[in-house]
């Protein structure tokens, strides 16, 4: 399968789909469900997952505070929305409002161990649990006019005080080109480390696009829209010179205020070189054939 073809990436990237996780089994045991056959053997020595403690305490989730320790500390203010509903609309035949359960039930959850490269030049390796976004998106039968997909995060200024300030334009929105959204690497994650997604990591459902900077991964998604025109994304609205729409990890294109050529892997002392497309070039570089990636950063 395509995902396993990763010659210059150390064995680790994508946990093969043999680690299927039966959703019933997963949810049946409730929180802290442990993956039945979670193997560590698949990881290269230098690509071991970032400790869960770091993954769940060092987060950019501005709705819960702008310091990276804030989201974990403020997790309890996150509104307890049950059932979580995702509104799907725009250029598709079968939109509507879906309970998260209904959205996920037809699919099998799987674990994917991805590198996560933040635009701030640090990175992690995270064992996500989720569904390939394409499988879910196809069910809504996007029309030929669906050129992009827009993802919108929760908007609840009453519970999320940060949304009463104009730090970013709320609600947080992100977007992908339809072929990016449908790419087999793109994941709708509902868990990590074999457990339900913690609030601070974007519960209950978030986007994971491992070849792009982390801010592309919209958290706590409440709306998915298929659109014809390129959607706006929150960081781009704030600083168009610094954060583009594509935001592909690219060591050759610096952030105006810092170099993107290297990154600090959380837990490591020395910075390591950043790889084009975060090491997923073999899988995704063709999506950008003929595009000037300096222009479309």
């Amino acid at each position: 399968m395509l995902l396993r073809h990763s010659p210059d990436i150390k064995a680790s990237e994508i946990t093969p789909q043999r680690h299927w996780l039966n959703r019933r089994q997963f949810l049946g045991t409730g929180m802290a469900a442990v993956l039945p056959d979670f193997t560590h053997g698949a990881f290269g020595a230098d690509e071991k997952p970032t400790p869960k403690d770091a993954v769940t305490t060092y987060n950019n989730f501005y709705e819960l505070g702008t310091d990276k320790a804030d989201p974990a500390q403020n997790a309890r203010i996150f509104p307890a929305v049950k059932p979580w509903t995702v509104e799907v609309g725009g250029e598709c035949a079968k939109g509507g409002r879906f309970d998260l359960d209904d959205l996920i039930r037809p699919h099998r959850l799987e674990e994917r161990i991805y590198r996560m490269r933040c635009v701030e030049a640090w990175s992690m390796v995270i064992p996500w649990v989720g569904i390939p976004a394409a499988e879910v998106l196809k069910r809504f039968e996007p029309t030929s006019r669906a050129k992009f997909v827009e993802f919108t995060s929760i908007h609840d200024p009453e519970h999320l005080p940060e949304q009463r300030r104009r730090t970013l334009s709320w609600p947080y929105t992100e977007g992908l080109r339809i072929d990016e959204a449908m790419h087999p690497l793109t994941l709708l994650a509902t868990g990590l480390y074999g457990e339900e997604l913690p609030v601070q990591n974007g519960a209950p459902i978030r986007l994971v696009v491992p070849w792009k900077y982390g801010f592309k991964g919209a958290k706590s998604i409440v709306r998915i829209r298929f659109v014809e025109a390129m959607p706006s994304n929150s960081w781009n609205l704030l600083q168009p010179r610094e954060y583009g729409f594509y935001a592909n990890v690219n060591p050759a294109v610096d952030h105006p205020r810092w170099s993107q050529s290297r990154e600090r892997r959380i837990g490591e002392f020395l910075r390591r070189p950043t790889l084009p497309f975060n090491g997923y070039a073999d899988q995704v570089a063709h999506l950008y054939d003929g595009m000037d990636l300096r222009e479309n950063f």
């Binding site: 403690d53 770091a54 305490t57 060092y58 501005y62 702008t66 990276k68 320790a69 701030e120 640090w122 730090t167 970013l168 704030l238 600083q239 610096d254 205020r257 810092w258 170099s259 050529s261 290297r262 600090r264 959380i266 837990g267 002392f269 020395l270 910075r271």
Partner: protein
């Protein structure tokens, strides 16, 4: 008041050392979060700027309280500001970038906020180097005083350095900017400290 004057200096010394002790303690006890290097570099930078603002607060504080002894602590607090700035810069060079001189040199040239921070650092270095009584004598009181007015500029550049490096949340650097503006206004607008001047009859020369 005599007791305060006597205890003031060592107490202030300990107070200025506390943030550093705190940072080092957090560092060795693995309490700086998932990215301790970033937390250390930023923490040292934060405290360099706070110490700089503290120096500038001394004269207004002396005028408002009449504590003559505190006016004499400007050199010590100033040297602490410089110390934190040195540690901030060294942690960036020696830990964060691990002596990658080529990259560091490129960053200083390419990133305006780093260039501004470096400029402020060099100013503080000049002030620290001329902070001895001997320097005051050699330069002469007036020239020395003119040189040391650079501290206002260095503080302004420090705030700018901080403001330009944050991503979206500008609250902290804006607060620092407001504090600096207040401390400068105190000096510039006679009305603000006139009362203190009239009531308390300054015992030490003005800065």
């Amino acid at each position: 008041m005599m007791r305060l004057a006597k205890l003031g200096k060592p107490a202030l010394f300990v107070l200025c050392l506390t943030p550093l002790a705190w940072l080092v303690f957090d560092l060795v006890s693995d309490n700086l979060g998932a990215n301790p290097i970033e937390a250390l570099v930023r923490g040292l930078g934060d405290w360099a700027l706070r110490m700089l603002l503290a120096v500038l607060a001394i004269t207004p504080l002396r005028q408002a309280t009449g504590w003559g002894w505190i006016g004499r602590q400007r050199r010590m607090v100033g040297l602490f500001a410089f110390t934190y700035a040195v540690l901030h810069l060294f942690s960036y060079i020696g830990i964060d970038q691990f002596f990658d001189w080529r990259l560091i040199a490129a960053e200083i040239v390419k990133r305006r906020y780093i260039l501004i921070g470096m400029t402020a650092f060099l100013m503080l270095a000049a002030l620290a180097a001329t902070s001895t009584n001997g320097s005051i004598r050699r330069l002469g009181g007036r020239r020395w005083k003119q040189l040391h007015r650079l501290v206002y500029l260095a503080a302004g550049l420090g705030v700018l350095h901080h403001l330009m490096m944050v991503k979206a949340d500008t609250r902290l650097p804006l607060i620092e900017g407001a504090v600096l503006a207040f401390l400068l206004l105190w000096r510039a607008v006679p009305g603000l400290n006139l009362k203190a001047r009239l009531n308390l009859k300054d015992r030490a020369p003005q800065a």
